[in-house]
Amino acid sequence: MLSDDQVNEIIIELIASLIPMTSRDRIKAIRSQPRTMEEKRNLKWICQQAKSRKMVDKEKSKQSRRMLELNCCAQCLNSISRVYRRSKNSLSELLDSVSLWQKTLKVIGGKFGTSVLSYFNFLKWLLKFNIFSFIVTFSFITIPQFTVAEKNTLQFTGLEFFTGAGYFGNTVMYYGFYTNSTIRHRNGGASYNMQLAYLFTIGACLIVCFFSLLYSMARYFRNNFINPHIYSRGIAKLIFCWDFTITHETAVKLKQKNLSTEIRENLSEILQENVKLTLSQQLIRFSAHLAAWVVSTGVAVACCVAVYYLAENNSEFLKNHKDPGAVLLLPFLVSCINLAVPRLYSMFRLVERYEMPRHEVYTLLIRNIFLKISIIGILCYYWLNIVAQAGEECWETLIGQEIYRLLLMDFVFSLADSFLGEFLRRLIGMQFMTSLGLQEFDIARNVLELIYAQTLVWIGTFFCPLLPFIQMITLFIMFYVKNISLMMNFQPPSKAWRASQMMTFFILLLFFPSFTGVLCTLAITIWRLQPSADCGPFRGLPFFIHSIYGWIDTLSKRPSSLWVVWIYRNLIGSVHFFFILTLIVLIITYLYWQITEGRKIMIRLLHEQIINEGKDKMFLIEKLTKLQDAEKRGNTSSFTLERRDVEVRLEVALGSSRSVQEENPKA
């Protein structure tokens, strides 16, 4: 423990370091100090007094007027920044108080822990995306269309909600209804070019999604960076990372029980780490893995072939039989595949044995992702290659209707799964086979379903501009359904789930392959496909992109907008620009990569230094105790000199080891 003088010295040093900082940095530094509120207030007051006295002294020493004005400017800026900070704080307080579902999320986190909460936070985040997309598309595309809307001559039957066809085919819901004209207001007023508006709005939505995804990914990566050299499967993390957010009594008791089980498993794993497998056992394991991978890939490919075959035959079947309900067959099959095959994959667990449970989770995820991506991929291929080029009357509307039906069927299946499937599982677990107990919330599978739905929405917004609205309603309902089902039918998870690592992985997954796949699909549509001749904003053009070419041509005739044409021709349209840009990005990436490698080496060296310093300390302490004993017994002065020398060296060693340990986290 430190003496009073040492404490005062530390405080004086701290104040001396705080005074020259700007007020913003000073507040940040004081806030991060581990002191009580009162001490922090006193520190702030002392620094303010010292600073104002310094400023009064400066004025007294008759500085030039310019310095005074500079001080005034600095004070002005300070007060502006203070006002800005205060308004930002009050705005964030306001947003927090109207934040959606805050109480519900708190209850979920309290009963089930951080990991299950991460699924619901992900859902909320996707909802924000869709709200933004809906607002943008509605204001810039749909509302102008309402002003020039034609009358809808079709009949309305109830089946439209499921098939999306019929009456809905002639509404703002689909691409085909939108006009290709330039909407003029009162003969000579402002004009609104529908073609450009359509393209630019969809483009703006996607660009905002892109940057938002990139920002979230970067933020999660930065918080979760773990140096792989010193990563350990540790027991220490289990002990020190108790979840303080759990507040429900039964949940706490359950968590304690699960923690004990996990500690026992961890202990036995550590004890078994030295056990090596024989060659035959390794071979058996390897062949089991290989067989499982072959079977899972085969099943995924078979499903894709079945979907493609059904899609092709379905269109012929529909031409012959005019039954409106028959269009639901394909979405039904796709949803059945999405329901059954992941559960089949989970059953492989009985055959395969993994060294670490983490590998099991990742393998299952990769297989499910491959299945979902290949299904979306095969459907996109079918739509873009067959439907778009079959010469149908309004192929964009047809694709939009298909996507609507897929989404709706997916939603219906999720509802049925939550209401019936999970309820039945609870009955079985509680009444019939009580050894099974309640089920646990499968976070990975549910998040993958959300990503699948969001991918479809992104692809479909071009063909069906109201799709974000439908997805918004879907997500809203899903939140409440999942919440109720969670409270009734599930128990908290038994294994510690690395929530933050998993969220990083899921957001990465959302970006690539999901978002990039969407961008590829839309790029192929816009650059390579011919719009239908009779409907939609791009009717009659040879390609969608020709609307932009036409616009650039009209702009180049106007002298005031030549800079736009210049940007288009020389920056966006030229290969040299992108080549140079890519080169610069690659160089910067390479430099950052080298810096990271250097830091890793430094961390390793500092770690070794800590261990060596510790050994030095132990050696010196032992020597000191030996000398002290000898001095007590022998009572000679020569031992005293040696003892003092060892004490000094020990102090130096203590000081340097503390500084090395402080350097280590900074590196």
Partner: protein
């Protein structure tokens, strides 16, 4: 910090805490009431939390201590600050180091008697093996902070929602 905090402090003991706090009376809410707050009542470490944040280490808190506690346990607090207070909470004998006895207390509170005595001591041994960087048989604040750096979940789990 939200506006709700002084109010929830007053809700704990309305007969003790005057709603008008401008004259700064030196009111201390006893530990029994703090420990019965809905956010803390089932937490195995509630007694240690109250002791660490109270002025005299006895668990009775003033409004300043209360605000301190919730500001450190909120989402906004920096990681180093949280690590510092987590270290103090797990240091049961307040000697500035987490020794084997402190670890045994922590593990017992976490597992509620489910583990046998030799399993507990084995766990403590393994934790010291993993986290003790300078090999002095106990965890200093720097060892603890180094270990927390490798646990990205720490920020989200060392958090009490209001």
């Amino acid at each position: 910090m939200t506006l709700g905090d002084p109010r929830s402090f007053c809700d704990l003991a309305p007969q003790l805490v005057p709603l008008d706090y401008t004259s700064c009376p030196d009111v201390k809410v006893p530990y029994e009431l703090i420990g019965s707050m809905p956010e803390l009542k089932d937490n195995p470490f509630r007694q240690r939390i109250a002791q660490v944040f109270s002025e005299d280490g006895d668990g009775h808190m003033t409004l300043d201590n209360f605000l301190d506690m919730f500001s450190v346990m909120s989402e906004m607090a920096p990681r180093d600050l949280k690590a510092y207070y987590a270290f103090k909470i797990y240091d049961f004998n307040n000697d500035g180091y987490i020794c084997a006895w402190d670890l045994e207390q922590t593990v017992t509170k976490l597992t509620r008697g489910e583990l046998s005595a030799e399993e507990v001591s084995l766990v403590c041994e393994k934790v010291l093996d993993e986290a003790d960087g300078d090999h002095d048989g106990r965890l200093s604040l720097e060892d603890f902070q180094n270990m927390i750096l490798r646990a990205p979940d720490f920020l989200s789990t060392f958090h009490i929602r209001i």
